[in-house]
């Protein structure tokens, strides 16, 4: 389908931006119209993203739904978008979380609605752009474009210590991005090709890679630069504070989608283009991943603020993604991308539920909450299932991702894997304790007036996200073959990776079960 010479992916990315253009001209008094326009645009994006995913042809190599428009010829910059298997899944994730985020926003945001949705839709568009970008310039362009709208979103519509939190978050993420920019520009000039095009660079570096010494410098620049948003320890401190201060929908999309932007760029650029550098540094990253899981998990254990628990828990879960990335084999990477999807949906659900409670109770402190299940059975159920997903219960999507990652990383980094498994226990402890202290037990007098999500419309975002977690948890073969198709070329192009446990995750095995 080609509308105005632009394919499905371009329209998925650009529809929210077009909505921004429309919303700017709607007078600020017509809040409902603004919300409807926003919701319509992310619905269109969701449908298109779903179509892209369904129509992704697993028998073909290379990128699909490609659009390439030369942008600045003299510098080798072109508007080049397209998806491989990894991109297809992540664009779908982005669209799902965006839809849920806009839906939740339209239920809760009442102040300065116009500005809110302008910033939020820019954020959405930028995230989808990063996932589908095949040109380094536009990749960076969309990435930075995703970092900045968060400043006013948290600063104006957030709660608590929002000014400090949002400044810290913005400066931290921008610092990381600029560090990575040094690496990217160095990469560009070192390649000597004068192009920012990722497929061109891929094939070039496969045949004539950069010298090892240069790769060993470039890789950490890009890994740390983009790792900041993946809450690579010790650059994770922006995250819990930022998510705690952020309004619900912003936390949803930040924890659900933005963190995965960094991980994808690490795959697309650092691992793809700098394989030797990756092999040098990834063993260290595996240890940092283990620290992420355990350290952040133990801090989450100590938190008394619901959103801080979720914030630290998402930092902890990122450790699994980092562990998977660090293993550098097809199995682990497949698991990583699957886990990115699963965690994204789960994090969005978690923050949405906490937001629902916060709106009515206006407190996030566990000590003041308790017994909410009596008044909000639906929300409590969803929350319990989210907590179980977070802990890695089989039947829910994150389990599948975690298991595949651990299988893949077992061969590459034994002890960090063991520590990660230990982390599963830690996670289970604090998430289930969170459920017990918030929703179970006696109900204090002051919460007698709370109401549940009653109508179908109110329940859609929570039920939808939960349904996805369950369906993908029971039927991972919906996603896995597509992901494998995207992961395969990474390793076909490169030096052979260290040997891994021989488990053939071919399609036949999954189709049998």
């Amino acid at each position: 389908m080609n509308f105005l010479h632009l394919g499905l992916i371009s329209w998925t990315v650009l529809t929210p931006l077009l909505a921004v253009g429309v919303i700017i001209f709607i007078p600020k008094t017509k809040a409902n119209l603004i919300k409807q326009v926003a919701l319509l645009s992310v619905s269109i994006s969701l449908v298109l993203a779903f179509l892209c995913f369904v129509r992704y042809d697993r028998t073909l190599n290379g990128y699909q739904f490609v659009d390439k428009i030369e942008w600045i010829k003299s510098l080798g910059i072109s508007y080049h978008v397209g998806i491989d298997g990894i991109g297809a899944v992540l664009v779908l994730l982005g669209a799902i979380c965006s839809f849920a985020g806009v839906y939740v926003s339209s239920m809760s945001i009442e102040k300065s609605v116009k500005e809110y949705f302008v910033f939020y839709l820019m954020l959405v568009s930028a995230c989808l752009g990063v996932f589908s970008s095949l040109d380094l310039f536009f990749l960076y362009f969309f990435y930075e474009m995703a970092v900045l709208p968060v400043y006013p979103l948290i600063g104006k519509w957030g709660s608590g210590n929002k000014e400090y939190a949002t400044m810290k978050l913005t400066l931290y993420l921008t610092a990381g991005a600029l560090l990575a920019l040094v690496g990217l520009l160095w990469l560009y000039s070192a390649s000597g090709l004068g192009t920012f095009d990722i497929p061109v660079l891929e094939t070039y570096f496969a045949q004539s890679p950069l010298p090892d010494s240069l790769q060993n410098i470039l890789f950490p620049l890009i890994m740390v630069g983009f790792g900041v948003i993946v809450t690579l320890w010790p650059f994770h401190t922006w995250s819990p504070m930022g998510y705690a201060a952020a309004p619900t929908a912003v936390s949803m999309i930040h924890a659900g989608v933005l963190k995965k932007l960094g991980a994808l760029i690490i795959i697309r650029v650092a691992i793809n283009l700098l394989p030797t550098g990756a092999h040098t540094w990834m063993p260290l990253v595996a240890w940092i991943a283990a620290i992420n899981i355990l350290y952040c998990g133990l801090i989450a254990w100590r938190q008394r603020d619901l959103k801080f628990i979720l914030g630290y828990s998402s930092c902890s879960h990122m450790g699994y993604i980092l562990l998977g990335l660090s293993s550098l084999n097809p199995i682990a990477l497949t698991g990583t991308v699957f886990y990115m999807f699963a965690h994204g949906v789960m994090a969005a659900l978690g923050f949405a539920l906490v937001g629902f409670c916060y709106e009515q109770t206006h407190t996030r402190m566990i000590d003041e909450l308790g017994g909410l299940a009596k008044k909000m059975p639906f929300i409590a159920t969803c929350f319990t299932m989210m907590a179980l997903a977070s802990a890695g219960l089989p039947g829910l999507a994150p389990f599948v991702g975690e298991v595949i990652i651990l299988i893949g990383s077992w061969g590459a980094s034994r002890i960090p894997t063991l520590l990660a498994i230990l982390g599963l226990v830690v996670t289970a402890t604090y998430t289930l304790r969170m459920v017990r202290q918030t929703f179970q037990g006696p109900l204090p007098e002051k919460w007698q007036h709370l109401t549940d999500a009653k109508t179908i419309f109110q329940r859609i975002p929570y039920a939808g996200l939960l349904a996805i977690l369950i369906i993908v948890g029971f039927l991972p073969m919906i996603l896995l073959p597509t992901i494998e198709q995207g992961v395969k070329p990474l390793f076909q192009r490169q030096l052979p990776s260290p040997p891994v446990a021989v488990v053939d995750l071919s399609r036949q095995e999954f189709q049998k079960s």
Partner: protein, 481 residues
């Protein structure tokens, strides 16, 4: 002997001079107050006419006055920038009329004269013409800076500017004398020919000394280290439209002169000044961006930030390549729209609050969404945030520095972007996150909205659709290498 004088080559400047005369006569004969209000309109109409006329001459490549006046694609580029600057600043002047108690019309006149000086700078092919045109520009700016005679800050600013400016003029002349003494001519082409036939002359002490002195004189105009001390005080004390003219016009004029000199007369010494500019760029960036972190006055903040931007521009110069110079030209264009947008809002706000502190911007998003949005976009563009103009401008400069093996300078630049983001976000924070002192709504006149939309359009278009403008910068430099 025939005078080599071509009416057509000099047409832009001649029309400007004509409009200056018309305005002069107008203020002489219009004694009625009501008629006096027409003068800014006369000025804007003539600017518009001259701009349209200039656009028809885009492909011209000729010289006159014995090659001391050059009209080539490079001068076309700069003249477009100057006329755009002129348009924005003239609008700001027309909106600040009540701040100037006396001599409002002479103010417009001085502004037009400054514009004439800038226009000649873009076309200067000879040191004497360059000197005279720089002086026309600078002296007009001295007077305009000190215009608010009842305010101590303004007079002090004018005096500081005058003293430091006079010093830099003397240095510039001294350098010129060395070059003249060594090469026998002040005309750029002749000097180039002399150096081509006597290559060792370029590396003689005298020539290098002359070059350093001339670069120092120009360094004052662009506000680079170590000639930047005057900027914060002068920017703060001057009337706001003059600050805008200083920030955009004077800086651009300095770079116009620099680029033409570096690619012409000083080309043989390129490896020397490339390294020099790299070091100066780093120090300038740090000075500007770190200095801005503590500021509470918006104009002083813009002063320090413009020092920072001079640093980025010097980075482009130090990446000595065709592409590097293109990136400087592109940056000046992006900088024009971003700074003009910011100053438009500062003028509008200071008209209504009578003060210039950042705290006056508190809650602007509720009192006037369009002004707050314009200010935010302008400041974030200056910080280098996509999808705004300043992002690609900085990216392009960093790219060229990386290509010239100046990775350390790119790292310094990136670090400074973080500093600058902090202080620009301070203003955004005041506008969007804090509540206003009084919640009265600003009534923003339509003309201000239109001016704001123009600057926003410039910022967005340059931010997203960079190709044609990169091409234009490329063509501007096509002759010079």
């Amino acid at each position: 002997m025939m005078i080599d004088f071509s009416w057509s080559v000099l047409s832009t400047e001649l029309y400007l001079s004509l409009s200056i005369l018309v305005i002069f006569l107008a203020e002489f004969f219009f004694t009625d107050e009501r008629k006096k209000k027409l003068i800014p309109s006369i000025a804007s109409l003539s600017l518009l006419a001259i701009f349209i006329h200039l656009l028809t001459r885009s492909h011209e490549n000729s010289s006159t006055l014995w090659r001391s006046f050059v009209q080539d694609p490079l001068s076309f580029y700069f003249k477009v920038l100057f006329l755009l600057t002129g348009g924005f600043v003239l609008f700001m002047i027309s909106k600040s009329q009540d701040k100037l108690q006396k001599g409002r019309d002479e103010f417009v006149l001085l502004f037009m004269i400054a514009l004439l000086g800038m226009s000649f700078v873009a076309s200067a092919g000879d040191f004497v013409l360059l000197f005279v045109s720089l002086e026309i520009l600078t002296i007009s700016l001295y007077i305009m800076t000190a215009y608010l005679r009842s305010q101590e800050a303004s007079i002090e600013a004018g005096l500081k500017y005058l003293i430091m400016g006079a010093l830099s003029t003397g240095v510039f002349l001294y350098g010129m004398s060395f070059i003249y003494g060594l090469t026998g001519s002040t005309e750029f082409n002749k000097i180039g020919e002399y150096l081509a036939s006597n290559p060792e002359a370029a590396h003689s002490t005298g020539f290098m000394f002359g070059m350093i002195l001339i670069l120092s004189g120009l360094g004052f105009k662009i506000g680079s280290f170590p000639f930047q001390l005057w900027i914060p005080d002068v920017y703060q004390g001057a009337p706001t439209p003059v600050t805008a003219l200083l920030a955009i016009g004077s800086k651009t004029a300095g770079f116009a002169a620099l680029i033409r000199l570096l690619l012409g007369v000083f080309l043989p010494l390129s490896d020397r000044w490339a390294l020099l500019f790299a070091i100066l760029s780093a120090i300038t960036m740090f000075y500007g961006n770190l200095g801005a972190l503590w500021q509470t006055n918006i104009k002083r903040l813009m002063g320090y930030s413009s020092i920072g931007h001079a640093g980025y521009l010097l980075m482009g110069l130090s990446a000595f390549s065709h592409s590097g110079m293109e990136s400087v030209l592109y940056y000046l264009l992006a900088y024009l729209f971003s700074t003009a947008g910011a100053f438009l809002v500062i003028v509008a706000v200071s008209n209504l609050t009578k003060a210039e502190k950042i705290s006056d911007f508190k809650g602007l998003s509720e009192r006037s969404p369009i002004l707050a949005a314009g200010m935010m976009l302008s400041l974030l563009s200056l910080a280098g945030v996509p999808p705004l103009a300043g992002f690609f401008a900085k990216f392009y400069i960093f790219l060229n520095a990386a290509q010239s093996d100046l990775i350390w300078l790119v790292a310094v630049g990136c670090l400074n972007v973080i500093f600058s983001l902090y202080y620009y976000l301070m203003v955004v924070k005041a506008m969007y996150l804090e509540s206003p002192v009084t919640s009265s709504e600003f009534q923003v006149p339509l003309s201000v909205k239109i001016a704001q939309f123009t600057s926003i359009a410039g910022i967005l278009i340059l931010g997203v659709w960079q190709g044609p403008f990169v091409e234009w910068a490329h063509r501007a430099l096509a002759n010079t290498f």
